[in-house]
Symmetry: C2
Subunit: 398 residues, 2 copies
């Protein structure tokens, strides 16, 4: 009974801290996720100590809850991503996505190598520079009410491509890290395996779902679409770990497959309460892992500044160059829109910490960078979009 | 990465087994919960061994997930229970509820004491005879489309009173068990404390929620009603363990408080996906704890038969006597409707196992009894209701 009470108290503390953090962040016009991570930092071992380090180690109940939370989150991101939508957004989105991965990845790995990491580890560090947070970007655009604008469509399309590339990259660097040095044969094998898994599951799964969706109506259970989708999510999350990929890749693919169900909208709706309950555990546990003491050293603060500038500049450049065909101002909006890192960058940092690639210092820096990029983007994006709207008064926006 | 894979595989196996079990049960016209428990039994240590005993011990991730599942389940039961509804159903429901607790509790403790338990433990065993499953009963009535009938209202009202009395009883016997022998002073103290907690939280919480519900609209978060309700659920679940009561009592009270929110219907809706994901872990883990080997002994099988007969007869008698004012046939319907034990009986058996009161044999017997009462009731109830409908043809039902 008392053990039950203790874990319930911790769950309560985490959940409430996340809500308060998110609420404060949103009142400050920041994404809620920022507040949840900061809340985790505040109640974690670095500050209040309501969460002990032993409670968030691998395999603990809180760690498993956090894992379920992030798996469900990436599932829901996948759910908003149809294979067909990826084709429609076209050349601009593709260019933005690809350049927005290559430039940060290149600059990130150069910086990491310059700071004494060997190349394998540098690629891992660089992977954390890459991923734009589709969630944060979409939430910001939605709050501004500009989801219908051409820049918004390009940003969202590019964010999806970006996410997929980042995940592939993550799979590649994770396998590389597990396997040791840079062996181009194994690199190719890892790449083929990762691409193969993603393509086969994504393409075949989507096709099967389209043609056989009526199977899902067979069960008696009124929530069968949801439970089948969740089963696919857990199953593919597991399977992707068997392929050396992160669990969230499988979850994302499962979401993309589930987006072909005719119950897709209902599913998106049903995912909301699940995300509301479970994702806070991921972000709070993430925040609790940051060692604030790290930033007491000027060197670490300096590193944070450099990393954040590289992260912003490289992503801005990639987005701007990729979207130049839309005109300079729209390209700038797209570039800024791609800046926020979020879940995925934090996930990669967590994986790096668990795998022993990241020191506590670099982990703290990467997570703080993800926070900072998420914090600085929304006001700038809002200003640019507002400014353009004033200029174009009377001109219907595309 | 591999640890993540292992836990994801277990989660996947449990979730899929639960869905298959529930689907088969429902096709056999049985409550889905029966199938989930049987599925747990099948993949548990007794049979397939996909779940190891060490994975479901107290404090493990699966145990915590199961706990969250049952806490959410009782929260949602509370959500369907308004304080005012408890008053409306009136005298019949109250009589049915009280007699339906006293008679099984008396017969159960006599049986347990006759089987060599001391009185404290006998009362604990008897508590597992008491609780009607509001969930199973309601689901059966809903499937039959008779929720509007007078017998259905009495059954539901009585089931709620029954649930509260059973929970109080559980709190009392748990505290007694923890504190040692039967001390009437401490019994009174425990009783006052338990009743005080329930009354204060239930009454004051409900009142505050009625008058201050507009506070819930203050946060920016669009899901604030849900997150606040979940926070109250986790908080009261924890608090009730501090009062020596089971976590589910606090969760139930939280649900009753939340039922006063004007977002109640939306909440009921939002709870569905949460229950769909998390309650299977409770029922499967429950089933996995049954040691099938126990029933290889004729003595245990005989005990199961005796316990099930006592459980059915005592509840039937309580319901029948309590509802006699409705006429004999209606009273019989009410009596039968009260027979299914479910979640709560199983929860009490689990608590008894953890507290060391129940042997594996008696645990298996109690859980199997809960299963059997849930299995036999639906067909009998359907028959009685159908029969009466035929008799009353042309007469509008009250």
């Amino acid at each position: 009974m008392h053990e039950t009470g203790a874990i319930l108290l911790t769950l309560f503390a985490i959940f409430v801290a996340a809500q308060i953090g998110a609420e404060i962040a949103q009142r400050l016009k920041l994404p809620g996720v920022v507040g949840e991570i900061v809340a985790g930092c505040a109640i974690g071992p670095s500050a209040l100590g309501w969460i002990q380090p032993s409670q968030i180690a691998a395999g603990t109940p809180l760690d498993v809850l956090a894992e379920i939370g992030v798996v469900l989150l990436l599932f829901s991101v996948g759910l908003e991503t149809r294979l067909d939508d990826l084709k429609k957004v076209g050349r601009s989105a593709f260019l933005v996505g690809v350049l927005g991965v290559i430039i940060p990845f290149a600059l990130g790995s150069l910086w990491a190598h310059g700071n004494g990491f060997d190349w394998t580890k540098s690629l891992f560090v660089a992977a954390a520079f890459v991923a734009t947070s589709a969630g944060i970007t979409a939430r910001v655009l939605q709050e501004l009410g500009v989801l219908g604008r051409i820049e918004a469509r390009v940003i969202l399309g590019a964010a999806v491509i970006d996410d997929i590339l980042a995940m592939l990259l993550l799979g590649v660097v994770t396998s590389l890290q597990a396997g040791g040095g840079v062996n181009f044969g194994s690199l190719l094998f890892v790449l083929v395996q990762a691409v193969g898994f993603v393509v086969v599951i994504g393409w075949v799964g989507t096709r099967v779902m389209r043609q056989r969706a009526h199977w899902l109506d067979q069960p008696i259970n009124p929530h069968s679409a949801l439970t089948i989708a969740l089963a696919i999510c857990l199953g593919l999350a597991y399977l992707s770990t068997e392929f050396g990929l992160a669990a969230i890749i499988g979850a994302f693919l499962a979401g993309m497959i589930a987006s072909e169900m005719h119950q897709r909208e209902e599913l998106e709706h049903q995912m909301q309460p699940l995300l509301a309950l479970l994702t806070p555990f991921f972000f709070v546990v993430t925040g609790a892992k940051i060692e604030l003491a790290v930033f007491a050293q000027p060197a670490a603060l300096w590193m944070l500044l450099v990393v954040t500038v590289i992260a912003i500049a490289s992503k801005l450049a990639g987005g701007f160059l990729g979207a130049l065909s839309l005109g300079k101002r729209s390209a700038l909006i797209v570039g800024v829109g791609m800046v926020p890192r979020g879940e995925v960058g934090v996930v990669i940092a967590s994986l790096g910490l668990v795998a022993g690639v990241f020191s506590n210092e670099i982990y703290a820096v990467i997570v703080a960078m993800s926070l900072l990029t998420s914090i600085v983007t929304p006001p700038v994006l809002a200003m640019l979009l507002k400014h353009q709207q004033d200029e174009h008064i009377g001109t219907p926006s595309a």
